[in-house]
Symmetry: C2
Subunit: 148 residues, 2 copies
């Protein structure tokens, strides 16, 4: 069993998608994360659901829980709306990190190790030209591995 | 809007649950993660889905993708079965880390910051005696925040 046997089409967002639209897509389609593609359609980054949320959380709240607590309830409730059109490109963190991207020949063990290491319940599968051919989700992987 | 308004009952696993049963619960109930409780019913740890998978991935594959690739396909397919009754307690990593646990008064911004920081799409909510009163999922949080 290889990535090619497990992959499925997966919706993508562009770098110019707004963070609110990205969050809405994640919620409405109950996705484990999002694949952000560049202008050529290649994966630019993969964002697990928690890191889509991170795009929307003000920087001063991300590292200090005490600072998140001082924001009053009405402002906290509206934190997503406060982004006001901010795009994924503008909100992405600068630091590079290992991306959960692999090729169609990856085994289930490679996929599992990649998901665990990158904390991503979603792996993008690309061909030799780095074109996106689909994605493997944690659910799809577990369903197949448990059926062995 | 506070954690108490968003929380719902959430299934738990014990430290003596087998890793395979934990993975099956995650897959069958389509959960974003698992709450592991100790003998008193208090949260011992919270495992995002990717970290449940991590319990099942051999140590030598976790940090080196090349080593995962040398395992042949039949053995890779059976990696979960190879655990053979290993319990969650036996598989948990030793290093302490910040747990996604909060109190019922946490705002949605605190919940979002906690999920982003701990890479957990699941936050356990405990009372003053650290008893589990429920959990807030990333989906529940986004659904409510997007509806504001």
């Amino acid at each position: 069993m290889r990535a090619r046997d497990l992959l499925a089409d997966f919706p993508t967002v562009a770098l110019d998608t707004s963070v609110v639209d990205a969050a809405r897509m994640l919620a409405d389609q109950d996705l484990p994360g999002l694949i952000v593609v560049d202008d050529t359609g290649s994966p630019f980054t993969i964002l697990p659901g928690t890191q889509v949320l991170r795009l929307a959380v003000p920087g001063y709240c991300q590292d200090d829980p005490a600072l998140a607590r001082v924001v009053d309830e009405p402002h906290a409730d509206a934190f997503l709306q406060a982004l006001d059109g901010r795009t994924v490109r503008e909100a992405l963190p600068r630091q590079p990190r290992e991306l959960p991207v692999t090729d169609p020949e990856a085994t289930v063990l490679e996929l599992a190790a990649l998901m665990a290491r990158t904390h991503s319940p979603l792996v993008a599968v690309v061909d030799g030209d780095r074109r996106l051919v689909g994605a493997v989700t944690l659910q799809a992987l577990l369903d197949r591995v448990l059926a062995v």
